[in-house]
């Protein structure tokens, strides 16, 4: 590896092989790391890699490569790049691509393809990956000539980042990698980006929206992922503070508006806090910012915020009126729209409404598991709360999918953007470990925690070897309850406790870590949490903690699928597993 030794300049006009053009174009686009796995059809590209200042991270499964590129993009805001060979290498990427698509993550995947002369002959490791990924990419390319590589890669970067971001796949035949062409980085630039023609944010609509905000008595801001994507954190803060509007967060919005801010109510939706969902149901105006009224957020469309007028600020016109009909749509980049909207809003006294919301919290705080005495049981919520406290809320946390993901969202309070890396839309188990690796490469100086359940962790546990090989300082917390917890919870609530196929026997995760040369420890009691977490943080290398938590604990509050937001299952007053509150 001649990392950093190349004196290659992307602007020099030279004849290169397609493989060299690929890397040269990536260098020109600012890529410094790619996550990949070699194989026959991509070998020419791998052969040329040593000439370029790009670090290649060898993954253990291509799904990991896609999630790492995704985590890299989420943590940095830059485009993540994954590389795989043809056939199974390419198909293994698909789950990761779909994950990025559902969460609008800018990512470029490069796959090798069999030589163009055998395309369509069912050649060894040939698969129609552009066909397979058509519905899960923003766009994809099949490139069969060396001349087309640079323009395709550059277009892919533009498409991945522009408008509503998303993944793009470039499939390059082996002969295109081997052939030569003149490389001209500048000439390969794509046509200037044209915004979606249906963006619409007229003065008339802005004034209409401003009028609604000024007149509202019970407004709520719904803060989504779009705030991070358009870097509109400051503008959202101005809107909330100036007009004294409480803010509810979507899962992917967490971190976009500081959790510790007095106007931040917390997360909304299926496992959101009761007062947030109550406030939405009672509101007379919803200002939806960069969110898409996902079904996990609205309960059912007919019962959702029936008293509220709705303003939807969103960059994707196809999202307008998709799930919830809105009164005013400001279709455009969130930051630009807010910058036009803010001058029309002079300020407002919102104290009465804020007081009402505060009162609605009622017994919720007492029911909160954090306020219960240590009963000897270890609850996942305790682990999340302690992790937040010990890391001072400053770590980048990559979570998997399920109960621990919701507990993390509830108890790890994110004050900073891009500190929660989680699969929201697709809900991909096995996401956390590789996404955390990607985040570590994006932010090498940051503390990174991977939090996964015992089920999801095993889906991509092979990437422990990647951590070991790359010598990454990553801390891993396995929330181990011996069940596929969220599925078990649904079985408990909706399937008469028929725990079909959810009890889970796992390997000894500490020994598994040890086999990879990674240190680890198991924690059974709350008293040990702080000590072991600190040991992990201070250890100069990766560290895995196996938290053996209460087995049949459930995530509360919960809105059953198909119910209205206010019809939630509250935290039980008398949980048989928990003693009554005494120390609060």
């Amino acid at each position: 590896m001649t990392h950093g030794e190349s004196d290659f300049h992307p602007h020099t006009l030279t004849r290169l092989t397609g493989a060299e053009i690929l890397w040269a174009t990536l260098v020109g686009e600012g890529v410094t790391e790619v996550f990949g796995y070699p194989g026959g059809a991509i070998l020419p590209a791998y052969d040329a890699l040593r000439k370029f200042p790009i670090r290649h991270i060898l993954v253990r499964h291509e799904q990991g490569a896609a999630h790492m590129a995704d985590g890299y993009a989420r943590a940095s805001g830059k485009v993540g790049v994954a590389v795989a060979t043809s056939g199974p290498g390419a198909t293994n990427l698909v789950t990761g691509i779909a994950t990025a698509m559902m969460d609008s993550i800018p990512m470029v995947c490069i796959t090798g393809q069999v030589a163009s002369k055998v395309l369509g002959t069912d050649a060894f490791q040939e698969i129609d990956i552009t066909g397979i990924t058509l519905p899960v990419t923003k766009h994809n390319f099949l490139v069969s000539r060396a001349e087309e590589i640079a323009p395709a890669i550059r277009a892919a970067f533009q498409i991945a980042q522009s408008g509503r971001p998303g993944p793009v796949l470039v499939d390059i035949t082996k002969d295109a990698q081997q052939a030569t062409a003149i490389f001209d980085f500048a000439a390969a630039r794509p046509r200037p980006y044209t915004p979606h023609p249906m963006l619409h944010c007229t003065d008339q609509r802005l004034h209409q929206a401003a009028e609604m905000i000024r007149k509202a008595e019970r407004p709520v801001i719904l803060a989504g992922h779009g705030i991070l994507q358009s870097r509109a954190g400051e503008q959202i803060r101005s809107l909330a503070e100036r007009m004294q509007i409480p803010v509810g967060m979507t899962l992917l919005g967490l971190g976009a508006f500081p959790a510790s801010h007095s106007l931040n109510m917390g997360m909304m939706g299926m496992h959101g806090e009761s007062w947030v969902n109550q406030a939405i149901q009672e509101a007379d105006l919803l200002i939806a910012c960069g969110m898409r009224f996902d079904d996990r957020v609205i309960g059912t469309p007919v019962t959702y915020a029936t008293k509220a007028k709705k303003i939807h600020i969103e960059i994707d016109p196809a999202e307008i009126n998709k799930n919830i009909p809105v009164d005013v749509a400001l279709v455009g980049d969130l930051r630009e729209v807010l910058e036009q909207l803010l001058p029309l809003l002079p300020g407002r006294d919102g104290s009465a409404w804020l007081r009402l919301i505060e009162e609605s919290k009622g017994s919720a705080a007492v029911r909160d598991i954090r306020n219960l005495p240590d009963s000897g049981h270890l609850y996942a919520a305790h682990v999340m709360h302690d992790l937040w406290r010990i890391t001072e809320g400053r770590a980048i946390v990559a979570t998997d999918v399920g109960q621990h993901q919701m507990w993390e969202a509830q108890y790890y309070h994110h004050d900073h953007p891009r500190t929660l890396i989680t699969s929201g839309g697709l809900g991909t188990m096995g996401f956390a470990l590789p996404a955390g690796i990607g985040a570590k490469f994006a932010c090498p100086d940051r503390e990174v925690w991977v939090i996964a359940g015992d089920g999801g962790f095993q889906m991509t546990a092979c990437e422990l070897a990647t951590i070991a090989q790359e010598k990454l300082k990553i801390n891993i917390a396995i929330i181990n309850n011996g069940y596929l917890g969220m599925v078990r919870q649904w079985q408990e609530f909706f399937y008469e406790r028929n725990y079909q196929s959810t009890p889970l026997v796992s390997p000894d995760f500490v020994k598994l870590a040890d086999a990879h040369g990674i240190r680890g420890a198991a924690v059974h009691t709350r008293a040990d949490v702080e000590r072991v977490v600190n040991e992990a943080r201070q250890h100069d290398g990766p560290f895995l903690i196996n938290f053996l938590v209460e087995q049949e604990d459930s995530v509360y509050p919960m809105i059953p699928a198909g119910s209205a937001l206010h019809e939630m299952i509250r935290r039980p007053d008398q949980n048989p597993l928990i003693e009554t509150p005494q120390d609060h």
Binding site: K138, H196, M198, K322
Partner: protein
Amino acid sequence: MLHTFVAYVEDKPGVLTRVASLFRRLNINIISLTVGRSERSGYSRMTIVADASDQAGHRIRASLYKLEDVAEVDDISGISAVTRELALIKVAANAENRSGVFELAEVFRARIVDLAPESMMIEITGVESKIEGLIQVLNERENRVLEVCRSGKMTMRRGHHTSRVLRAMGLSTEAPARDDEASEFHSPVDPE
């Protein structure tokens, strides 16, 4: 309801799949889809008729625009436009019952384009109901319908809109664009 879209798409491999895949993804059935070259080189023109809920038009159009290969989308559902379909119909006909088919063709302003000892081929253009009318009358006769090949709908807005499309695509337009009032002079009713 039936929605009709006219889309200008880049003329390259895979574009048809992308458009069709979008409708499949949205769980919307395409009733008819015609594709051919347009006045703009490098771009094909599609007329897409799809059966979807009344509110779906906006989302379909917005989603079509999200495809990289789509340059222009016009939703012309319920808008004054000329719509035509071409059909080739082969009927069984011999020397005894041929003349009746000729008469029918004349009534429907269709043409006989092939004549064989046992069959005839009719070419007809018009709106859907006209073509269906001919097929129905043919079925009522002793001339059995052997084959039907229909092109699917082709649609073009009446009047001013064509120049608007040209302008939107950055091409010069010779004739000055008419405003909405001017288009009122065009009969909204199909002369046929």
